[in-house]
């Protein structure tokens, strides 16, 4: 009886998965160049968005070569992030963002403990020692999200049919771009999102003749 029930559940699950939609969000700039590191997410417009299910293990943002890696990390509300330092120099990771203010004072190797990102919003990370180091955590109230790769495409899968609001964010965007989409079948049409990017405002790292390493 138990085995039968399990089998039935499995079949139902597989059917549900087949019915679940996939949407390809293609991010392009004004010159039709593909844009990497854009975060796309969906919230239900016609119902209740499933509650975020943060992964049990912490997500990792490492510091390597005196840079954060990855540059952009989308997570669900409640996700824990650890910040291991792979460099031999110390880093001092901090955020002054409203969605998460924190500081990991000076460390090498593993950070003392993972940081819980418990509020939705954009969190800008910096290093108090190396001014050029910057990274973003996009904390989302939905389990449906993806980040665009080098080909500019973010793939959102396992989407139950319905109406959604698709939102896209990028570090060089003045405001998120939103549009409504409908997921009906297994494969929805690709969503091409045009992003008007501002100039890159990262602090320059390259040194100058006569200037010190730390200023």
């Amino acid at each position: 009886m138990k085995t039968l029930l399990c089998l039935w559940l499995l079949v139902c699950g597989a059917r549900l998965a087949l019915a679940a939609g996939v949407v390809h969000v293609v991010c392009e700039d004004d010159k039709q160049q593909r844009v990497a590191d854009a975060v796309a997410w969906l919230v239900r417009a016609d119902g209740v968005t499933p509650a975020p299910q943060p992964p049990p293990a912490p997500v990792t943002i490492q510091q390597l070569g005196q840079e954060f890696d990855p540059y952009v990390t989308p997570v669900q509300v409640g996700t824990r992030i650890s910040f291991p330092n792979q460099d031999s120099v110390q880093h001092h990771v901090y955020s002054l963002s409203k969605a998460k203010r924190f500081e990991l004072p000076l460390y090498r190797g593993e950070a003392r403990e993972a940081v819980v990102f418990d509020q939705p919003g954009i969190v800008t990370l910096g290093c108090n020692i190396h001014d050029w180091m910057i990274a973003y955590v996009v904390v989302l109230p939905t389990p449906h999200f993806a980040k665009s790769g080098a080909d500019g495409t973010a793939i959102l899968s396992n989407l139950p049919a319905g109406r959604y609001t698709l939102e896209v964010w990028h570090p060089r965007l003045a405001a998120t771009v939103a549009r409504e989409i409908v997921i009906a079948g297994a494969d929805a049409a690709p969503q091409i999102i045009r992003l008007t990017l501002k100039p890159d405002r990262r602090i320059r790292r390259a040194p100058e003749a006569g200037g010190g390493a730390y200023r």
Binding site: L96, E103, P105, G126, R204, P207, A209, A213
Partner: protein
């Protein structure tokens, strides 16, 4: 070194400083091999139009200075806001025409940085004490140099940064006439329209010793200025020496002057850790009623390892 043991306080302070910095040098020298140090190097070529600091064009001598430098800096953070900075630098300078000016320096640097708050936009105050041994091809110019620099910096946006600095430097030389002391105040604005390009403008006011050279000729009344420039001015009131740096004999007069200099630079990054630099500088120096102008044009490349 024939240093007077006069009770001049700055002199005594600098001597003690020397000692402290030299003691720390073996530690800082490991900078070049150990990773917790940020190591950077640069190559520059600077064309100077008026090496002799001459008033009259006929006495202007121009030459190009090629410099290579390797520096390592270690940031030892004390707490959230304070860091000690320990550095070592080695420098080699070669001159296109007047090789007597060629020199090498090896030095150490000790700094303290305080940040008023957290992050890249917090104002920063930094004090640096640096010292170096100077070995010049012309042995009369061999000696050591010390500099104290206080710098206040503030970044207003990812693009804009303002630096205000005050420094005091002292250089000794075997020929004491060729030693100099000078202080300066400067303001610099750096503007990076994007992470690749940087524009930089600086205004600086300096006050202290400068070496002014005049070609001289031997006469029955002793060495006389060749062109008669400055004849109405009593240069002999200043410490004077004869140098052969420029071929024919020149007087080196150590005069006390003030200088206004203006420089504009542009620096395109050619990689995340490599940048080129182009800079033009104009300086106007005056002592009493006499003034002269210098121009310098620099091309360089810097890399952070």
């Amino acid at each position: 070194m024939a240093l007077n043991q006069s009770p001049l306080t700055p002199r005594i302070i600098f001597r003690r400083l020397h000692l402290a910095l030299w003691l720390s040098l073996p530690f800082t020298a490991s900078a070049l091999f150990a990773q917790p140090f940020l190591t950077s190097g640069s190559l520059t070529a600077t064309w100077h139009d008026n090496l002799t600091q001459a008033v009259a064009g006929v006495e202007h001598l121009a030459a190009t200075q090629f410099a290579a430098s390797l520096a390592a800096e270690h940031c030892h953070t004390l707490n959230r806001d304070d860091a000690l900075l320990l550095g070592a630098a080695i420098n080699a300078e070669a001159w296109s025409r007047y090789t007597g000016l060629d020199r090498a320096t090896l030095g150490g640097q000790l700094g303290w940085r305080h940040r008023f708050g957290l992050g890249a936009y917090a104002p920063t105050l930094r004090l640096d004490l640096a010292t170096a041994v100077v070995v010049a091809r012309e042995s009369a110019r061999t000696g050591n140099q010390s500099t104290a620099t206080l710098r206040a910096s503030r970044r207003f946006s990812p693009e804009t940064r303002l630096d205000l600095a005050a420094d005091y430097g002292r250089q000794t030389a075997r020929d004491t006439v060729l030693g100099q002391q000078r202080g300066s105040l400067s303001a610099e604005v750096a503007y990076d329209p994007n992470p690749q390009w940087r524009w930089r403008g600086r205004v600086r006011w300096a006050n202290g010793d400068v070496l002014v050279y005049h070609p001289v000729t031997w006469t029955p009344w002793g060495w006389q200025h060749l062109h008669g420039y400055g004849a109405g001015y009593n240069y002999y009131a200043f410490p004077t020496s004869i140098v052969r740096t420029f071929g024919p004999p020149h007087h080196a007069h150590r005069v006390f002057a003030h200088t206004w200099s203006y420089s504009l630079g542009v620096s395109p990054a050619i990689g995340p850790r490599t940048a080129l630099t182009f800079q033009i500088e104009r300086a106007e120096t005056a002592y009493d009623a006499i003034s002269y102008i210098n121009h310098a044009l620099t091309l360089g490349v810097a890399h952070q390892f």
